[in-house]
């Protein structure tokens, strides 16, 4: 009987205590953050969307090789000697046209491994984290600043240059060969005349 009464009392008393607590919380300011209007400040070293500053990129491909998921796709074209590509901000001379620099952000796992090897610090994480898209293709970011026409032109340029170089080389080789042949011929001539001069029957020492 005593237990019974005690149970009853405890039931009522604990409910009253619980109600007191919830009533207090009714007036505690809420912790909700009204997200799109109001944002949580991000920590200092957050890893979000990548950005590449193409002015500084030398196209060394190191970031693409560091990426564990192969989401960076870089294509480069060598410049011809006459072209001036400018310099990076830390004084390196650029030598390659970066014709394609695509990052597939949909694949990226935000590991930041691509950031460290970059010799010019031009690929880095920003604090943008709202970049959802309706199509997955739209998540492939093209960072290359070159227009398609320009790319063709540079490729052609390089090919032409290459071809010229080839031609030059070929010409040089030919010239060399000719020179060698001439020299040989002359040498032979000399020897012949010598032989003739010495009147020996034995032939051909060359």
């Amino acid at each position: 009987m005593r237990q019974y009464l005690k149970n009853t009392w405890e039931g009522i008393w604990t409910i009253i205590i619980g109600m007191k607590i919830t009533f207090k919380h009714l007036f505690v300011p809420s912790v909700t953050i009204q997200y799109p209007d109001q944002k949580v400040p991000l920590p200092e070293r957050v890893r979000n969307r990548l950005y590449v500053n193409m002015d500084d990129c030398i196209g060394c491909d190191q970031c693409a090789r560091a990426c564990p998921v192969n989401c960076i796709d870089i294509e480069t074209v060598k410049s011809t000697p006459g072209e001036n590509l400018g310099q990076t901000s830390n004084g390196k001379k650029k030598a390659l046209w970066v014709t394609k620099f695509d990052i597939d952000i949909a694949k990226c796992c935000y590991c930041q491994l691509c950031v460290f090897p970059c010799p010019t610090d031009c690929i880095y994480m920003t604090d943008v984290y709202e970049f959802s898209e309706f199509k997955r293709n739209e998540l492939i970011y093209n960072f290359s600043t070159m227009q398609p026409g320009e790319v063709e032109e540079k490729k052609d340029n390089f090919e032409k240059f290459q071809a010229e170089k080839e031609a030059q080389k070929a010409a040089a080789a030919k010239a060399k060969a000719e020179a060698a042949a001439k020299a040989k011929a002359e040498k032979e001539k000399d020897e012949k005349s010598k032989n003739n001069n010495s009147k020996s029957s034995s032939n051909d020492v060359s």
Partner: protein, 355 residues
């Protein structure tokens, strides 16, 4: 209300229709406000904000939800007993709405001036059980069926302590009409039944503790009857999806919702009529002191609604305080605690009344 309308217009059908439709004009805005209140109360008790987007601090959220519910497709799954499935929400709503017929909103308005008011309410609210069972059974879904069975078991068990407490109050006041009961507790708050009723004397003070117990029992058991937490096992979301209304969508679901909130107010109103003076103001009427007679009924409606909404608020408060009880605990609370206490209470109040 009905009589005066008949006198004015001479049309009984018109009068009956108007006085029957009056509570709807109260119920629908009440439900819209109560759903909003429920969300806000729950949110703030958990240090959240609740709806904030639609209107100022989400004020129009429930109205938006209401329109959303209207637009929803009315899904009737295969394997459902269509006739009863479609009928159940109306039965549930009718059961909860019929209670309003005997609630005295003010001294001038009561749906039906029957002398059996309180017994009528107990009887008619049994209709809700039938509706819930019907909904659960015809849904052809095990969760719905569980919910319906639990609900039936729960409502029927908790009707016993409710009836016993009400019986003791009837013994003491000597009336079954809620209108008369409210009239008896007129003037100031020390005349309320919870404080021993209008008669001065030694019995008033002797009775107070027993009335307090009666109030607690009545409040707990009505809470269980309207399936509110901590007794919300029929629609326990975490166990039964949504209980008996799992299969309902659109307007039929809204009917259940309406019935649930309607019930909440109805039981709160009954508690306030029985123990807290119903529509009576606690401090006398502004209309009487200023000499404006017609203001009094409106003040009474205000006090009636205010007390009802206060108890609805307490229901929400309890809901966000207590976890759900288990089925065996539910039955223990009812049969081992509430019923013996209400029996003892009945005896004591009976003896005091006799003396």
């Amino acid at each position: 209300m009905y009589e005066s309308l008949v006198e004015i217009t001479g049309l009984e059908i018109f009068a009956a229709f108007v006085s029957a439709a009056m509570p709807v004009a109260f119920l629908v805005p009440f439900v819209i406000i109560a759903v909003y209140l429920e969300r806000k109360v729950s949110a703030h008790m958990q240090d959240r904000l609740g709806p904030m987007r639609v209107g100022y601090h989400g004020l129009l959220q429930t109205i938006a939800d209401f329109f959303k519910l209207i637009q929803k497709e009315d899904i009737v799954a295969e394997g459902i007993d269509k006739k009863f499935f479609n009928f159940a929400p109306f039965l549930v709503f009718a059961g909860s709405y019929a209670v309003y017929a005997a609630l005295p909103f003010s001294s001038k308005y009561i749906g039906s001036e029957t002398d059996l008011g309180i017994f009528y309410i107990i009887a008619i609210s049994g209709l809700v059980v039938a509706g819930i069972l019907m909904a659960g059974w015809t849904s052809n879904n095990k969760y719905s069926l569980y919910g319906a069975m639990r609900s039936a078991a729960q409502i029927i068990s908790y009707e016993i302590p409710t009836a016993l407490v009400i019986l003791s109050i009837i013994m003491w006041t000597g009336t079954m009409s809620l209108a008369t009961m409210s009239e008896m507790q007129t003037a100031y708050f020390w005349n309320w039944n919870i404080l021993g009723g209008p008669e001065w004397g030694i019995t008033k003070f002797v009775l107070i503790p027993f009335l307090l117990v009666a109030f607690i029992i009545l409040y707990v058991s009505t809470l269980a009857e309207v399936n509110r937490t901590p007794f919300d096992m029929p629609e326990a979301e975490s166990e039964l999806v949504a209980g008996y209304h799992t299969e309902y969508s659109g307007m039929k679901f809204a009917m259940f919702f309406l019935a649930e909130y309607g019930n909440m107010f109805a039981v709160s109103a009954i508690v306030s009529v029985i123990f807290f003076g119903g529509y009576q103001s606690p401090f006398g009427y502004l209309g009487n002191t200023l000499g404006i007679e017609w203001l009094v009924p409106f003040e009474q409606v205000f006090w009636f609604a205010a007390k009802g909404i206060f108890f609805v608020f307490v229901q929400m408060w309890l809901r966000w305080t207590l976890p759900r009880v288990r089925v065996d605990q539910l039955m223990t609370i009812c049969w081992k605690y509430l019923i013996p206490y209400s029996f003892v209470n009945l005896l004591v109040i009976g003896i005091i009344t006799l003396l």
